[in-house]
Amino acid sequence: MSGVRVLVGTRKGGFILTSDQKRQKWEVSEPQFAGWEVWHMKASPLNPDRLFAAPSTGWFGQQVHRSDDGGKTWEPIGNEFKYASETGTHLWYDGTPHPWEFARVWHLEPSLTEPDTVYAGIEDAAIYKSTDAGQSWAEMAALRTHPTSTKWMPGAGGMGVHTIVQHPEDPKRIFVAISSAGVFKTEDGGESWQPMNKGLKSPQLPEPEAEVGHCVHRIAMHPSRPDTLFMQKHWDVMRSDDAGATWTEVSGNLPSDFGFPIDVHAHEPETIYVVPILSDSYHYPPDGKLRVYRSRTGGNDWEPLTKGLPQKDCYVNILRDAMAVDRLDSCGIYFGTTGGQVYASADSGDSWSPIVHDLPAVLSVEVQTLA
Protein backbone atom coordinates (compact mmCIF):
# COMPACT_ATOMS: atom_id res chain seq x y z
CA MET A 1 0.00 0.00 0.00
CA SER A 2 1.31 3.45 -0.68
CA GLY A 3 0.82 5.98 2.05
CA VAL A 4 2.06 6.26 5.59
CA ARG A 5 2.23 4.12 8.68
CA VAL A 6 2.57 5.96 11.98
CA LEU A 7 4.02 3.96 14.87
CA VAL A 8 2.89 5.29 18.22
CA GLY A 9 4.33 4.15 21.55
CA THR A 10 2.20 4.90 24.61
CA ARG A 11 2.06 4.21 28.32
CA LYS A 12 -0.28 1.29 27.72
CA GLY A 13 0.68 -0.19 24.40
CA GLY A 14 1.68 0.55 20.84
CA PHE A 15 -0.64 1.64 18.05
CA ILE A 16 -0.25 1.59 14.30
CA LEU A 17 -2.06 4.32 12.38
CA THR A 18 -2.30 3.94 8.62
CA SER A 19 -3.50 6.12 5.80
CA ASP A 20 -3.11 6.61 2.08
CA GLN A 21 -1.12 9.46 0.59
CA LYS A 22 -3.91 11.96 1.22
CA ARG A 23 -3.55 11.39 4.96
CA GLN A 24 -7.16 12.31 5.64
CA LYS A 25 -8.72 8.99 6.61
CA TRP A 26 -6.95 6.86 9.15
CA GLU A 27 -7.16 3.36 10.49
CA VAL A 28 -6.13 2.85 14.10
CA SER A 29 -4.92 -0.60 15.09
CA GLU A 30 -5.81 -2.49 18.20
CA PRO A 31 -3.24 -2.01 20.99
CA GLN A 32 0.01 -3.85 20.35
CA PHE A 33 1.61 -5.14 23.58
CA ALA A 34 -1.54 -4.06 25.39
CA GLY A 35 -0.86 -2.86 28.90
CA TRP A 36 2.90 -2.49 28.38
CA GLU A 37 4.75 0.80 28.22
CA VAL A 38 6.02 1.08 24.68
CA TRP A 39 8.78 3.64 24.78
CA HIS A 40 9.64 3.29 21.13
CA MET A 41 8.71 1.55 17.89
CA LYS A 42 10.66 2.06 14.69
CA ALA A 43 10.85 0.54 11.23
CA SER A 44 13.88 -0.42 9.21
CA PRO A 45 14.44 2.10 6.42
CA LEU A 46 15.61 -0.82 4.27
CA ASN A 47 12.69 -3.16 4.82
CA PRO A 48 9.32 -1.54 5.41
CA ASP A 49 7.84 -4.73 6.81
CA ARG A 50 10.46 -4.95 9.55
CA LEU A 51 9.50 -3.13 12.73
CA PHE A 52 11.11 -3.11 16.15
CA ALA A 53 9.38 -2.32 19.43
CA ALA A 54 10.54 -1.92 23.02
CA PRO A 55 7.72 -2.68 25.48
CA SER A 56 8.48 -2.81 29.19
CA THR A 57 6.74 -2.83 32.54
CA GLY A 58 7.92 -2.40 36.08
CA TRP A 59 6.51 -5.84 36.82
CA PHE A 60 8.07 -7.95 34.10
CA GLY A 61 10.97 -5.88 32.83
CA GLN A 62 12.15 -5.21 29.31
CA GLN A 63 11.02 -6.91 26.14
CA VAL A 64 12.11 -6.26 22.57
CA HIS A 65 9.92 -7.50 19.73
CA ARG A 66 10.26 -7.58 15.96
CA SER A 67 7.67 -7.76 13.26
CA ASP A 68 8.53 -8.87 9.74
CA ASP A 69 5.06 -8.31 8.36
CA GLY A 70 4.50 -4.63 8.98
CA GLY A 71 3.12 -5.04 12.48
CA LYS A 72 0.54 -7.76 11.86
CA THR A 73 2.44 -10.16 14.10
CA TRP A 74 5.31 -9.75 16.54
CA GLU A 75 7.89 -12.09 17.96
CA PRO A 76 10.01 -11.53 21.06
CA ILE A 77 13.71 -11.11 20.29
CA GLY A 78 16.76 -10.57 22.46
CA ASN A 79 16.18 -8.60 25.61
CA GLU A 80 19.44 -9.20 27.39
CA PHE A 81 21.43 -5.98 27.70
CA LYS A 82 24.56 -6.83 29.62
CA TYR A 83 27.14 -4.14 30.14
CA ALA A 84 30.24 -5.32 28.32
CA SER A 85 32.75 -4.49 31.01
CA GLU A 86 33.11 -3.50 34.64
CA THR A 87 30.22 -1.13 35.11
CA GLY A 88 31.90 1.47 37.28
CA THR A 89 29.87 4.39 38.54
CA HIS A 90 28.24 7.61 37.48
CA LEU A 91 27.02 10.34 39.80
CA TRP A 92 23.75 9.87 41.65
CA TYR A 93 21.33 12.68 42.48
CA ASP A 94 23.05 13.28 45.81
CA GLY A 95 26.44 13.52 44.15
CA THR A 96 27.65 10.12 45.31
CA PRO A 97 28.98 7.46 42.93
CA HIS A 98 26.26 5.10 41.75
CA PRO A 99 26.76 1.85 39.84
CA TRP A 100 25.49 1.62 36.30
CA GLU A 101 22.20 -0.33 36.22
CA PHE A 102 20.00 -1.34 33.30
CA ALA A 103 16.55 0.23 33.57
CA ARG A 104 14.95 0.13 30.12
CA VAL A 105 15.37 0.60 26.39
CA TRP A 106 14.60 4.17 25.47
CA HIS A 107 15.18 4.12 21.73
CA LEU A 108 15.67 1.68 18.86
CA GLU A 109 17.41 2.85 15.69
CA PRO A 110 17.56 0.45 12.74
CA SER A 111 20.61 0.84 10.51
CA LEU A 112 20.46 2.91 7.36
CA THR A 113 22.72 0.47 5.52
CA GLU A 114 22.40 -3.04 6.98
CA PRO A 115 18.93 -4.57 7.29
CA ASP A 116 19.90 -6.85 10.18
CA THR A 117 21.67 -4.15 12.17
CA VAL A 118 19.84 -2.14 14.80
CA TYR A 119 21.03 0.07 17.64
CA ALA A 120 19.44 0.44 21.07
CA GLY A 121 19.84 3.33 23.46
CA ILE A 122 19.24 2.39 27.05
CA GLU A 123 19.05 3.72 30.60
CA ASP A 124 21.50 3.82 32.40
CA ALA A 125 23.16 5.43 29.45
CA ALA A 126 24.68 3.01 26.98
CA ILE A 127 24.35 2.07 23.33
CA TYR A 128 24.01 -1.47 22.03
CA LYS A 129 24.29 -2.93 18.55
CA SER A 130 22.67 -6.01 17.13
CA THR A 131 23.76 -7.47 13.80
CA ASP A 132 21.24 -10.32 13.84
CA ALA A 133 18.02 -8.31 13.67
CA GLY A 134 17.77 -7.98 17.42
CA GLN A 135 18.32 -11.58 18.49
CA SER A 136 21.39 -10.57 20.49
CA TRP A 137 22.88 -7.31 21.64
CA ALA A 138 26.46 -6.20 22.24
CA GLU A 139 27.31 -3.02 24.05
CA MET A 140 29.42 -0.40 22.27
CA ALA A 141 31.12 0.09 25.59
CA ALA A 142 33.45 2.94 24.74
CA LEU A 143 30.56 5.36 25.19
CA ARG A 144 29.71 4.28 28.74
CA THR A 145 33.38 4.06 29.68
CA HIS A 146 34.23 7.47 28.27
CA PRO A 147 36.57 9.24 30.74
CA THR A 148 33.85 11.78 31.53
CA SER A 149 31.21 9.18 32.40
CA THR A 150 32.00 9.14 36.10
CA LYS A 151 30.68 12.72 36.10
CA TRP A 152 27.43 12.00 34.24
CA MET A 153 24.34 12.47 36.39
CA PRO A 154 20.72 11.55 35.63
CA GLY A 155 18.10 14.22 35.22
CA ALA A 156 14.66 13.84 36.78
CA GLY A 157 13.65 11.49 33.98
CA GLY A 158 16.67 9.21 34.28
CA MET A 159 19.92 8.95 32.36
CA GLY A 160 19.43 7.33 28.99
CA VAL A 161 20.63 7.34 25.41
CA HIS A 162 17.55 8.79 23.75
CA THR A 163 18.77 9.89 20.32
CA ILE A 164 20.86 7.95 17.81
CA VAL A 165 21.58 9.78 14.54
CA GLN A 166 23.43 7.97 11.79
CA HIS A 167 25.41 9.61 9.02
CA PRO A 168 23.52 8.86 5.80
CA GLU A 169 26.58 7.51 3.98
CA ASP A 170 29.19 6.62 6.59
CA PRO A 171 27.88 3.95 8.96
CA LYS A 172 30.86 4.43 11.28
CA ARG A 173 29.79 7.97 12.06
CA ILE A 174 27.04 8.19 14.69
CA PHE A 175 25.81 10.87 17.03
CA VAL A 176 24.07 10.05 20.29
CA ALA A 177 22.45 12.30 22.85
CA ILE A 178 22.19 11.42 26.51
CA SER A 179 20.06 12.86 29.27
CA SER A 180 21.78 14.48 30.93
CA ALA A 181 25.31 14.16 29.67
CA GLY A 182 25.02 15.76 26.23
CA VAL A 183 25.98 14.89 22.66
CA PHE A 184 28.71 12.42 21.74
CA LYS A 185 30.03 11.43 18.32
CA THR A 186 31.89 8.43 17.04
CA GLU A 187 33.65 8.35 13.68
CA ASP A 188 34.97 4.82 14.02
CA GLY A 189 31.83 2.78 14.53
CA GLY A 190 31.80 3.14 18.30
CA GLU A 191 35.42 2.37 19.11
CA SER A 192 35.79 5.86 20.53
CA TRP A 193 33.46 8.75 21.32
CA GLN A 194 33.98 12.48 21.67
CA PRO A 195 31.77 14.93 23.60
CA MET A 196 30.29 17.46 21.19
CA ASN A 197 28.89 20.11 23.50
CA LYS A 198 30.94 23.20 22.77
CA GLY A 199 28.72 26.25 22.70
CA LEU A 200 26.03 24.81 24.95
CA LYS A 201 25.30 26.89 28.03
CA SER A 202 23.36 25.37 30.92
CA PRO A 203 23.00 27.68 33.92
CA GLN A 204 21.78 24.70 35.99
CA LEU A 205 25.35 23.39 35.94
CA PRO A 206 28.02 24.70 38.30
CA GLU A 207 30.11 25.18 35.19
CA PRO A 208 27.56 26.31 32.58
CA GLU A 209 29.82 25.58 29.61
CA ALA A 210 31.11 22.26 30.91
CA GLU A 211 32.33 19.58 28.52
CA VAL A 212 29.49 17.25 29.62
CA GLY A 213 26.36 17.41 31.75
CA HIS A 214 24.04 19.28 29.40
CA CYS A 215 20.44 18.12 29.27
CA VAL A 216 20.05 17.67 25.55
CA HIS A 217 16.49 16.68 24.76
CA ARG A 218 16.76 15.80 21.09
CA ILE A 219 18.93 16.27 18.02
CA ALA A 220 17.91 16.01 14.38
CA MET A 221 19.68 15.95 11.02
CA HIS A 222 18.56 16.27 7.43
CA PRO A 223 20.20 13.51 5.37
CA SER A 224 21.24 15.93 2.63
CA ARG A 225 23.29 17.98 5.13
CA PRO A 226 24.91 15.58 7.55
CA ASP A 227 27.16 18.26 9.04
CA THR A 228 24.19 20.33 10.15
CA LEU A 229 22.49 19.31 13.37
CA PHE A 230 19.58 20.86 15.20
CA MET A 231 19.06 20.50 18.93
CA GLN A 232 16.27 21.10 21.41
CA LYS A 233 18.09 21.43 24.70
CA HIS A 234 16.38 21.57 28.09
CA TRP A 235 16.35 25.29 27.47
CA ASP A 236 17.60 26.69 24.13
CA VAL A 237 17.22 25.61 20.53
CA MET A 238 20.65 25.18 18.97
CA ARG A 239 22.26 24.37 15.63
CA SER A 240 25.65 23.16 14.53
CA ASP A 241 27.06 23.47 11.02
CA ASP A 242 30.31 21.68 11.72
CA ALA A 243 29.07 18.22 12.66
CA GLY A 244 28.59 19.06 16.29
CA ALA A 245 31.98 20.66 16.90
CA THR A 246 30.34 23.94 17.91
CA TRP A 247 26.76 24.99 18.60
CA THR A 248 25.01 28.34 18.33
CA GLU A 249 21.66 29.31 19.74
CA VAL A 250 18.79 29.84 17.29
CA SER A 251 15.90 30.24 19.73
CA GLY A 252 15.15 33.67 18.24
CA ASN A 253 11.53 34.77 18.74
CA LEU A 254 10.16 31.57 20.27
CA PRO A 255 7.73 32.24 23.14
CA SER A 256 9.74 29.73 25.17
CA ASP A 257 12.86 27.88 24.15
CA PHE A 258 12.15 25.00 26.51
CA GLY A 259 10.79 21.90 24.84
CA PHE A 260 11.47 18.32 23.92
CA PRO A 261 11.23 17.29 20.24
CA ILE A 262 12.81 18.90 17.20
CA ASP A 263 12.59 17.69 13.62
CA VAL A 264 13.51 18.70 10.09
CA HIS A 265 11.24 18.93 7.04
CA ALA A 266 11.80 16.01 4.68
CA HIS A 267 12.56 18.15 1.63
CA GLU A 268 13.66 21.50 3.07
CA PRO A 269 16.80 21.09 5.18
CA GLU A 270 16.48 24.55 6.71
CA THR A 271 12.85 24.08 7.77
CA ILE A 272 12.63 22.87 11.34
CA TYR A 273 9.90 22.31 13.92
CA VAL A 274 9.71 22.57 17.70
CA VAL A 275 6.88 22.68 20.24
CA PRO A 276 7.58 25.31 22.89
CA ILE A 277 6.77 24.33 26.46
CA LEU A 278 6.34 26.94 29.16
CA SER A 279 9.19 25.77 31.37
CA ASP A 280 10.76 22.84 33.15
CA SER A 281 8.52 23.60 36.11
CA TYR A 282 5.29 23.29 34.12
CA HIS A 283 5.77 20.92 31.19
CA TYR A 284 2.81 22.32 29.25
CA PRO A 285 2.51 24.90 26.47
CA PRO A 286 2.51 28.63 27.17
CA ASP A 287 -0.93 30.22 27.60
CA GLY A 288 -2.74 26.88 27.24
CA LYS A 289 -2.17 27.07 23.46
CA LEU A 290 -0.71 24.13 21.60
CA ARG A 291 1.52 25.66 18.95
CA VAL A 292 4.10 24.06 16.75
CA TYR A 293 6.72 26.59 15.71
CA ARG A 294 8.31 26.37 12.30
CA SER A 295 11.42 28.10 11.11
CA ARG A 296 12.15 28.15 7.38
CA THR A 297 15.53 29.73 8.04
CA GLY A 298 17.12 27.05 10.16
CA GLY A 299 16.20 28.85 13.36
CA ASN A 300 16.01 32.36 14.84
CA ASP A 301 12.93 33.37 12.83
CA TRP A 302 9.95 31.29 13.94
CA GLU A 303 6.25 31.28 13.06
CA PRO A 304 3.49 29.70 15.12
CA LEU A 305 1.43 26.98 13.47
CA THR A 306 -1.98 26.89 15.10
CA LYS A 307 -4.59 25.93 12.51
CA GLY A 308 -6.38 22.87 13.83
CA LEU A 309 -4.53 22.79 17.16
CA PRO A 310 -6.26 23.68 20.45
CA GLN A 311 -5.72 27.34 21.28
CA LYS A 312 -7.21 27.33 24.75
CA ASP A 313 -7.19 25.10 27.80
CA CYS A 314 -4.46 22.82 26.48
CA TYR A 315 -2.01 21.55 29.08
CA VAL A 316 -0.37 18.54 27.49
CA ASN A 317 3.30 17.86 26.90
CA ILE A 318 5.04 16.51 23.81
CA LEU A 319 7.88 14.19 24.67
CA ARG A 320 11.26 14.07 22.94
CA ASP A 321 10.60 11.06 20.72
CA ALA A 322 7.03 12.04 19.89
CA MET A 323 7.49 13.98 16.64
CA ALA A 324 8.28 12.67 13.17
CA VAL A 325 7.98 13.58 9.50
CA ASP A 326 7.01 11.58 6.44
CA ARG A 327 8.68 11.82 3.04
CA LEU A 328 5.69 12.29 0.77
CA ASP A 329 5.86 15.15 -1.73
CA SER A 330 3.87 17.36 0.57
CA CYS A 331 5.75 16.64 3.78
CA GLY A 332 3.65 15.34 6.65
CA ILE A 333 4.44 16.28 10.25
CA TYR A 334 3.18 14.23 13.19
CA PHE A 335 3.33 14.52 16.94
CA GLY A 336 1.74 12.88 19.95
CA THR A 337 0.85 14.33 23.33
CA THR A 338 0.77 13.16 26.89
CA GLY A 339 -3.00 13.67 26.62
CA GLY A 340 -3.22 10.84 24.10
CA GLN A 341 -3.78 12.85 20.93
CA VAL A 342 -1.80 12.26 17.75
CA TYR A 343 -1.90 15.26 15.41
CA ALA A 344 -0.99 15.18 11.74
CA SER A 345 -0.33 17.83 9.16
CA ALA A 346 -0.22 16.86 5.49
CA ASP A 347 0.95 20.32 4.40
CA SER A 348 4.24 20.91 6.19
CA GLY A 349 2.50 22.18 9.29
CA ASP A 350 0.17 24.79 7.80
CA SER A 351 -2.86 22.93 9.14
CA TRP A 352 -3.38 20.10 11.59
CA SER A 353 -5.98 17.59 12.53
CA PRO A 354 -6.06 14.85 15.13
CA ILE A 355 -5.69 11.31 13.86
CA VAL A 356 -6.84 9.99 17.21
CA HIS A 357 -7.90 11.74 20.43
CA ASP A 358 -7.87 9.31 23.27
CA LEU A 359 -4.86 7.06 23.32
CA PRO A 360 -2.86 6.58 26.51
CA ALA A 361 -0.11 9.15 27.03
CA VAL A 362 2.06 9.16 23.91
CA LEU A 363 5.74 8.39 24.44
CA SER A 364 6.96 8.18 20.86
CA VAL A 365 5.88 8.73 17.27
CA GLU A 366 7.66 7.42 14.19
CA VAL A 367 6.49 7.50 10.58
CA GLN A 368 7.06 5.21 7.65
CA THR A 369 6.50 6.44 4.13
CA LEU A 370 5.31 3.43 2.15
CA ALA A 371 5.92 3.15 -1.58
Binding site: A34, G35, W36, T57, G58, W59, F60, G61, Q62, Q63, P76, N79, E80, K82
Partner: protein, 98 residues
Protein backbone atom coordinates in the same frame (compact mmCIF):
# COMPACT_ATOMS: atom_id res chain seq x y z
CA UNK B 1 3.43 -32.53 37.41
CA UNK B 2 3.54 -29.07 38.99
CA UNK B 3 0.75 -26.61 38.21
CA UNK B 4 1.87 -23.01 37.73
CA UNK B 5 -0.53 -20.08 37.35
CA UNK B 6 0.78 -17.09 35.41
CA UNK B 7 -0.38 -13.45 35.34
CA UNK B 8 -2.07 -12.14 32.22
CA UNK B 9 0.92 -10.43 30.64
CA UNK B 10 3.09 -13.52 30.96
CA UNK B 11 0.36 -15.68 29.45
CA UNK B 12 0.34 -13.35 26.46
CA UNK B 13 4.10 -13.37 26.21
CA UNK B 14 4.41 -17.14 26.46
CA UNK B 15 1.30 -17.72 24.34
CA UNK B 16 -0.01 -20.12 26.96
CA UNK B 17 -3.02 -20.64 29.18
CA UNK B 18 -3.41 -19.20 32.64
CA UNK B 19 -2.29 -22.47 34.15
CA UNK B 20 0.61 -24.47 32.78
CA UNK B 21 2.20 -27.70 33.92
CA UNK B 22 5.89 -28.30 34.41
CA UNK B 23 7.90 -31.33 35.37
CA UNK B 24 10.64 -31.12 37.95
CA UNK B 25 13.25 -33.80 38.44
CA UNK B 26 14.31 -34.02 42.06
CA UNK B 27 13.27 -31.79 44.91
CA UNK B 28 10.41 -29.44 44.11
CA UNK B 29 11.47 -25.97 45.16
CA UNK B 30 10.64 -22.51 43.93
CA UNK B 31 13.96 -22.42 42.10
CA UNK B 32 13.45 -25.78 40.40
CA UNK B 33 9.87 -24.93 39.43
CA UNK B 34 10.89 -21.58 37.93
CA UNK B 35 13.87 -23.19 36.19
CA UNK B 36 11.51 -25.71 34.62
CA UNK B 37 9.04 -22.99 33.68
CA UNK B 38 11.76 -20.92 31.97
CA UNK B 39 13.06 -24.00 30.18
CA UNK B 40 9.58 -24.65 28.84
CA UNK B 41 9.01 -20.99 27.94
CA UNK B 42 12.39 -19.30 27.34
CA UNK B 43 10.65 -16.00 26.63
CA UNK B 44 9.89 -15.80 30.35
CA UNK B 45 13.57 -15.60 31.29
CA UNK B 46 14.15 -12.29 32.99
CA UNK B 47 10.46 -11.55 33.42
CA UNK B 48 10.03 -13.30 36.78
CA UNK B 49 13.56 -13.40 38.16
CA UNK B 50 16.58 -11.25 37.50
CA UNK B 51 18.65 -12.97 34.81
CA UNK B 52 21.91 -12.53 36.65
CA UNK B 53 21.06 -12.83 40.34
CA UNK B 54 18.07 -15.13 40.07
CA UNK B 55 16.22 -12.94 42.54
CA UNK B 56 12.47 -12.38 42.28
CA UNK B 57 11.57 -9.20 40.43
CA UNK B 58 10.40 -6.85 43.12
CA UNK B 59 6.83 -6.35 41.84
CA UNK B 60 6.05 -10.06 41.58
CA UNK B 61 4.82 -12.30 44.38
CA UNK B 62 4.78 -16.09 44.71
CA UNK B 63 1.85 -17.74 46.51
CA UNK B 64 0.89 -21.31 47.27
CA UNK B 65 -1.41 -23.12 49.68
CA UNK B 66 -2.71 -19.75 50.94
CA UNK B 67 0.83 -18.75 51.92
CA UNK B 68 3.02 -15.94 50.61
CA UNK B 69 6.19 -17.73 49.56
CA UNK B 70 7.79 -14.67 48.00
CA UNK B 71 10.48 -14.20 50.58
CA UNK B 72 11.11 -17.84 51.35
CA UNK B 73 14.43 -19.45 50.54
CA UNK B 74 14.11 -20.49 46.87
CA UNK B 75 15.72 -23.83 47.67
CA UNK B 76 13.26 -24.78 50.41
CA UNK B 77 11.01 -27.67 49.31
CA UNK B 78 7.56 -26.45 48.35
CA UNK B 79 4.52 -27.72 50.29
CA UNK B 80 3.52 -31.24 49.38
CA UNK B 81 0.16 -30.28 47.78
CA UNK B 82 2.06 -28.12 45.26
CA UNK B 83 4.71 -30.77 44.68
CA UNK B 84 1.98 -33.35 44.06
CA UNK B 85 0.01 -31.07 41.75
CA UNK B 86 -3.04 -30.80 43.97
CA UNK B 87 -2.51 -27.08 44.52
CA UNK B 88 -1.09 -24.57 42.02
CA UNK B 89 1.97 -22.41 42.46
CA UNK B 90 0.81 -18.85 41.81
CA UNK B 91 2.92 -16.09 40.21
CA UNK B 92 1.19 -12.81 40.91
CA UNK B 93 1.81 -9.27 39.72
CA UNK B 94 1.82 -7.04 42.78
CA UNK B 95 -1.02 -4.54 43.04
CA UNK B 96 -0.06 -1.18 41.62
CA UNK B 97 -1.82 0.67 44.40
CA UNK B 98 -3.35 4.09 44.00
Amino acid sequence: MIRVVLPQHLQTLAKCDREVQVTVAGVVTQRSVLDALEALYPVLRGTIRDRDTGERRKLLRFYGCQEDLSNEDPDTPLPEPIAMGREPYLIIGAMAGG
